[in-house]
């Protein structure tokens, strides 16, 4: 148990506690001083607190109900069963129908795919136009757009409902996609604007001199070099749309309720004894896609948060 002096997990350029004398530092680094033990104890305890809900969710979803009542919330399952998962996916009642939350899953897919593709495209065009083209009033619009990202949707929701009802699309797939495009636009625009701000103006000027127009430069020069930010934007937008509850509840209509709304219906419409195991299986199923995206993409996910939050 001797921790190495240089931690390879951390970027080597950023050691914060620079040792003065190498010999003393080596001693410090090797020995588990009480202070080091304290640091690890704190981090370990914190990690347990953060992992506890995930652990409880998983073990609860694998136990029969009798075992949950008898064995306590933290006990490992004796006879692990996937029956609650099957129930949650295709048997449990969500409101009137009892077909599980698979319908909600497919609705969420139907909502998320166009909402992500369209919002990223609009965000990329916005960012490109804001960074390279001088359009009157564009920066003022962008400023108001960013403010809109911080305003609670309750401020805009009722007029939007009325307008969509007038247009005859309220409570449909196009309505919910449109609303996601509207409320996803600030962050997506910000991401692309910041990304294109790092692209040298000379590159753009050269393309202009070669006779490239607005769309040609966008499609042939900018878009091909935007892959990293498209990935980041995709992760953020998929997570955001998938996890949305309130917009889906209001705008999607009964036939296209997303998975989060269906999940909440499952838990609220339970009659009689609460099926904690089925509830937890349904919760895991709903959280699975963003969690998988997070565990697979790790650093990209963090980069998206940082790019979207800090540089604002």
């Amino acid at each position: 148990m001797t921790p190495p002096i240089i931690d390879h997990a951390a970027p080597p350029a950023l050691p914060l506690q620079m040792p003065l004398r190498p010999a003393a530092a080596r001693k410090r680094g090797r020995r588990l001083t009480p202070a080091r033990i304290g640091i690890y104890a704190f981090l370990f305890t914190a990690a347990l607190f953060f992992l506890l809900p995930l652990y409880v969710m998983i073990v609860t979803s694998l136990k029969p109900m009798e075992e949950i009542r008898a064995g306590g919330i933290f006990a490992l399952p004796h006879a692990a069963t996937f029956e609650p998962w099957r129930q949650a996916w295709s048997g449990v009642c969500t409101g009137a129908a009892c077909e599980g939350i698979r319908g909600g899953f497919w609705n969420s897919v139907l909502i998320t795919v166009p909402s992500t593709v369209i919002t990223i495209l609009v965000g990329a065009v916005n960012g490109y136009a804001l960074s390279f083209w001088r359009a009157r009033g564009a920066n003022l619009l962008f400023g108001v757009l960013l403010i809109g990202a911080f305003v609670p949707v309750q401020v805009m929701i009722y007029p939007l409902v009325r307008v969509m009802a007038l247009a005859g699309i309220y409570g449909s797939l196009p309505a919910i996609v449109l609303v996601h495009v509207i409320f996803g636009m600030p962050v997506m625009t910000l991401l692309f604007r910041n990304y294109y701000a790092g692209v040298p103006q000379e590159l753009f000027q050269a393309a202009r001199i070669d006779g490239g127009g607005f769309w040609r430069i966008f499609l042939q020069v900018m878009l091909p070099m935007s892959l990293p930010i498209i990935v980041v934007a995709g992760i953020m937008q998929v997570t955001g749309v998938w996890n949305d509850y309130i917009l889906g509840l209001v705008f999607a209509g009964r036939d296209h309720l997303p998975m989060t709304v269906e999940l909440n219906n499952v838990i609220m419409t339970t009659t009689g004894t609460r099926q904690y195991n089925v509830n937890m299986a349904a919760t895991i199923l709903t959280a699975l896609l963003p969690l998988a995206l997070y565990f697979v993409s790790g650093r990209w996910f963090v980069r998206g948060i940082a790019a979207g939050a800090v540089k604002g």
Partner: protein, 294 residues
């Protein structure tokens, strides 16, 4: 001739390209907000109507016990949520920054709740805090009979359960942003502090923390707007209950818009919510404007 033509289409193109953004801002943001303001000055019930009644809805709103309770709950929640997120996030970032082993794993563990929806978060914590079957039962099975973890069904404690669940969800984000801030601090400061024999905790408190101000300001803005937007977690965890003990303003607005057909009152509530958000954003907009002007 051809060149000028290309120039004109190019000029047209940029405005066409920006038209979705313009429509979004002018119609869906500003237009919708102004319409809400307009409705809040009328006696609208199920549908918007023209009956102008001045500020009467606002008077009704602030005479409404449920609205006042919602505001009170939000204030209590906001203070606790922000303080807890900042404290936990900062501590985690500082401790992770001590060149510990397994930094990547720890960061992943602290941030994964942020990938979960508020609905899923609320439902998990509802189950964990269920009296009898949840943690409460486990504590009793281990022989701790004195402690009763029934906060979620107690009117005076229920807001704290929402704080716990949402802090669990959001403090990893604070940790990630703070850690990025810490890594951006000049290592020479630590060298200088060592030379002067200043203990590490004092360097953190008196030198590093002030230097992290821009990061803290960003975090504060994100957390406080999250406070005003609090809705999903409450709906999933308590549905505003027990009784009305965990009602929040966003839920008050949604209930009056879609369940109680009192659009006028709900719109007044929405306008009231808009005020603190704009007040929070004003200093940022000002700083941004000055930065761009210079």
């Amino acid at each position: 001739m051809k060149r000028t033509f290309a120039r004109i289409t190019s000029r047209m193109s940029k405005y066409i390209a920006l038209s979705p953004m313009a429509l979004t801002v002018i119609v869906a943001y500003v237009g919708a907000a102004l319409w809400t303001l307009r409705i809040s000055l009328t006696s609208s019930r199920t549908f918007p109507s023209g009956g102008y009644i001045g500020l009467a809805q606002y008077q009704r709103l602030f005479d409404n016990e449920r609205w006042m309770l919602s505001l009170h709950n939000l204030a209590l929640y906001g203070v606790l949520f922000i303080v807890a997120c900042l404290a936990i996030g900062f501590l985690l970032a500082v401790f992770i920054d001590q060149r510990v082993r397994g930094e990547g794993v720890l960061r992943t563990v602290f941030l994964y709740p942020y990938a979960m929806s508020f609905v899923a978060t609320g439902l998990v914590w509802q189950w964990l805090l269920t009296p009898g079957d949840g943690i409460d039962g486990a504590l009793r099975a281990w022989g701790w009979h004195g402690l009763q973890l029934d906060w979620i069904v107690r009117q005076d404690m229920v807001m704290y359960t929402i704080v716990i669940a949402t802090v669990w969800q959001a403090s990893g984000l604070v940790m990630a942003l703070m850690l990025a801030g810490l890594r951006g601090i000049d290592p020479d400061i630590w060298k200088a502090a060592r030379l002067d024999g200043i203990p590490a905790w004092r360097v953190y408190a008196q030198v590093v923390l002030p230097m992290l101000w821009p990061t803290i300001a960003t975090v504060l803005l994100l957390l406080s707007t999250a406070v005003v937007k609090l809705y999903d977690a409450v709906v999933a965890m308590t549905q505003g209950g027990p009784g009305t003990a965990s009602e929040v303003p966003t839920k008050f607005i949604m209930d009056h818009l879609f369940l109680r057909s009192n659009v006028g009152l709900a719109s007044a509530g929405a306008v009231v919510l808009l005020v603190p958000v704009l007040a929070l954003l004003a200093p940022y907009a000002y700083a941004r404007h000055r930065k761009e002007a210079t």
